[in-house]
Amino acid sequence: MTFRVRNLAKPHLALVMITVGVIGRILLAGAANIEPVLVLSMLAGALLGSYYTIVVPVAIMGLSDLYFYLGPYSGQYSTFAILGLAAFVYSGFVFVAAMGGFAMRRRLVWRTKTIAIFTAISVPLTVAFDVWTAFGDWLFLGSRFGLTLQEVYVMQIPFTLIHILSSLLFAPILGTTLLALHLHGLPTPGTAPTETPGRAPDE
């Protein structure tokens, strides 16, 4: 079988990210803080930029939240708590996407170094995201259990470590895959297009 490489337009790559994010988040819901959304948000900022920095993380979270809050979490949280937490989580992911773009936009080459830098950057961004969302957690849920902000941050430590593990796991896997799609396109079955006479193949 022969393959031809089809370049993926930005909306298509965004759709791939959103699909992977929604399915990944739902399938991994049982493992607290193991999630692909943070890394996908970074990739949205790094590979797509522009309004995709907002669209990709918000779409992943919005669609998967619809599933969770109409399904397994139905009736467990007040609308106030859901919206309050969502404000922190969504804005956290948008911040991560923006930082991913800021740090990586000029480094997008098919090199190990690109993935290494991307993976390394995912760690402080994960910590920043958790500090921000734990504050939201304390504001909208912690008070329900009478916890101080300091207690919430102390209780957050193992969750953040797991979240770092999640980012370390997904950053090279998703980073390599989506960077390849972005730079080299998607190999699809079919005959390679006929070369224009007189042009070098790599031109």
């Binding site: 193992p158 797991i162 090279p172």
Partner: protein, 146 residues
């Protein structure tokens, strides 16, 4: 450094960093205690309109194991959600037919010797003379336990 060498170094560093994080999680979240010496403890469960008391000399020296023992000895049913690695703990969601969320915003909380518990019931080790109090309430914190 050649690209292939860089890739090998990166994969090694990647695996090592994940192993380090897993080890750090093990330090921060200790495994739940398995056995304890015999302790004399009291458990009081305060539901909506009912109270259950249980006194025991037991080797089931955690809040969860004591609940399990009381459930078996008194015929009080209870339910919980188990959390796997790394937490290896439980969240008690129902006691004696009263389920968290049956009344909007109400959950099961517990206090040990008048202090609000900050550990999961499976990690909460009990000492001689401890009093465990379970309460069905809309909010936790130290105020609840006074």
């Amino acid at each position: 450094m050649r690209e292939r060498t860089q890739a090998a170094v990166f994969v090694a560093a990647w695996l090592a960093s994940m192993a380090a994080v897993v080890a750090a999680v093990g330090v921060v979240v200790p495994a739940p205690p398995i056995a304890s010496s015999e302790v004399r403890v009291t458990m009081v469960i305060e539901g909506p309109g009912w109270t259950i008391e249980y006194d025991a000399s037991t080797t089931n020296g955690t809040a969860f194991l004591l609940m399990k023992e009381a459930s078996a000895n008194l015929g009080v049913d209870f339910d919980y959600v188990a959390y796997g690695w790394p937490y290896d703990d439980v969240l008690i969601t129902s006691i004696n037919g009263t389920r968290s969320g049956d009344v909007s915003g109400y959950d099961w909380h517990y206090c040990v010797n008048g202090r609000y518990a900050t550990l999961g019931a499976l990690h909460q080790v009990l000492a001689n003379g401890d009093v465990v109090r379970w309460l069905y309430a809309p909010g936790g914190g130290s105020e609840l336990c006074r």
